[in-house]
């Protein structure tokens, strides 16, 4: 019996992560979800947050934006607009991006722009959360 999952995290820019893992925790739209191998096929949305991956007994964290996840018994495919490994997050940059997004929100924006800024805000917040958790 297969006891690993093939996890693929793909963004429009690149394939960020592709490996066999033992377990993955996703930031689902209705709360966190832990996925083990042989999960029931599931299609769901995720929100900006952190994905934690367990591989070989070690945990790995990624900051992701919102997107979609397709889960079959053997495979978890994550399609999102941002994915950064915790080690690659630049805390200062994320902090600055968050401040800039917050400043933009105060201005009057149309719906389209508000959505863009909110997404940017969520991205930077997710990065910061993942990074700070690592530091602890």
């Amino acid at each position: 019996m297969a006891n690993t999952l093939k996890l693929e995290i793909v963004t429009p820019d690149a394939v960020t992560y592709s490996d066999d893992v033992e377990m993955v925790t996703l930031p689902g739209a209705e709360g966190e979800m832990g996925i083990y191998p042989n999960h029931v096929p599931l299609m769901t949305q995720i929100v900006a947050g952190e994905i934690s991956v367990r591989k070989g007994g070690r945990d790995l964290f990624l900051a992701v934006g919102d997107g979609f996840v397709e889960i079959t018994g053997k495979r978890v495919a994550v399609m999102t607009d941002m994915a950064i490994l915790a080690d690659n997050i630049d805390e200062a940059k994320a902090e600055e991006a968050r401040r800039r997004a917050e400043a933009r929100l105060v201005e009057k924006l149309d719906d389209e722009e508000t959505a863009t800024v909110n997404a940017a805000l969520a991205h930077s917040a997710a990065q910061l959360r993942v990074k700070r958790r690592q530091g602890r």
């Binding site: 429009p12 739209a29 299609m43 949305q45 397709e70 079959t72 495919a77």
Partner: protein, 289 residues
């Protein structure tokens, strides 16, 4: 018979032209590299998206989304993705030839890029909207196009939407292609060079949806369509710059050939002149003696 001065002047002007085309070739080459990278980087995402949607839409049961409903085609829209600038070889000419094949009475054109809208205006066809996109296409630009097309479709003004664009196959090969956009009935790749297609799977794997089929598909379909337009914009840009680079390289090569021919002619003429003068001098000297 042109004089030596005429030929010299022509050589100079051809040299100037060659310099300009050479510079344009360099610019296009550097832009091409960027555009190609962007197009290639987007492909895994597009492939995965196709696979997922293909699998999922095979197992939604009775549920149909309004973007997936097939209707008898009375009116159709074509999203025509062309370039803003010319001087890129036969790219736009080929594109326009394909665009002219649609029935003029029942087709509404949605133009992205100035050359396409010029064509629609020139042939007095129906122009639904005109969009612009930058050298490095932005996702928001793609979203605007896709949103407009979706609204036309959901309001029932058109029953089918296709996209006509130049598929990037390699630096030397780009092909105008028509791909279906709406309704989403089958998930197909864009042929060779672009992502792999994925067939609708009918193997009966039941998918759970969280939070519900409607919610997930309702979010996934528009995103899929937006991204499809975005990827197509990237591919078109890569085609444009490749095509321009090749066209400019040909122009530079031609100019060099012309310079060579003209120089030869110039030297021949110059020698003929010298020989003529020598002959005159010697014959004059012979007459004197």
């Amino acid at each position: 018979m042109p004089s030596t001065r005429d030929i010299r002047r022509r050589i100079k002007s051809v040299k100037n032209t060659a310099q300009i085309t050479k510079a344009m070739q360099m610019v296009a080459a550097s832009k091409m590299r960027k555009a190609q990278q962007a197009a290639l980087a987007g492909r895994p995402y597009a492939t995965l998206m196709n696979q997922v949607l293909g699998q999922v839409s095979g197992c939604v049961g009775d549920f149909t989304h309004e973007l997936m409903t097939k209707r008898p085609v009375k009116k159709r829209a074509v999203i025509l993705i062309s370039t803003d600038k010319g001087l890129c070889g036969g790219l736009n000419a080929n594109l326009v030839r394909e665009a002219g094949k649609f029935d003029r009475a029942t087709t509404i054109y949605i133009a992205a890029g100035r050359k396409g809208s010029q064509f629609v205006a020139r042939t007095k066809r129906q122009l639904g909207a005109e969009f612009t996109y930058k050298d490095a296409p932005l996702f928001s630009e793609a979203r605007a196009i896709s949103k407009f097309a979706r609204e036309l479709f959901t309001k029932g003004e058109v029953d089918q939407v296709d996209i006509l664009f130049t598929n990037f196959i390699s630096t030397l090969n780009q092909k105008p292609e028509v791909v279906p956009f709406l309704p989403v009935t089958e998930i197909k790749g864009l042929g060779m060079g672009l992502e792999d297609g994925a067939q609708l799977s009918k193997d009966g794997t039941e998918f759970l949806f969280e939070p519900g089929v409607e919610g997930v598909l309702g979010a996934l379909l528009p995103h899929y369509l937006n991204f499809r337009v975005y990827q197509i914009l990237l591919e078109s840009k890569a085609s444009e710059h490749s095509s321009r680079m090749v066209a400019m390289k040909n122009a530079t090569d031609n100019a060099k050939q012309i310079i060579k021919d003209l120089t030869l002619e110039y030297n021949k003429l110059r020698q003929a002149n010298i020989t003529k003068e020598l002959l005159e001098i010697t014959s004059a000297a012979m007459a004197m003696s």
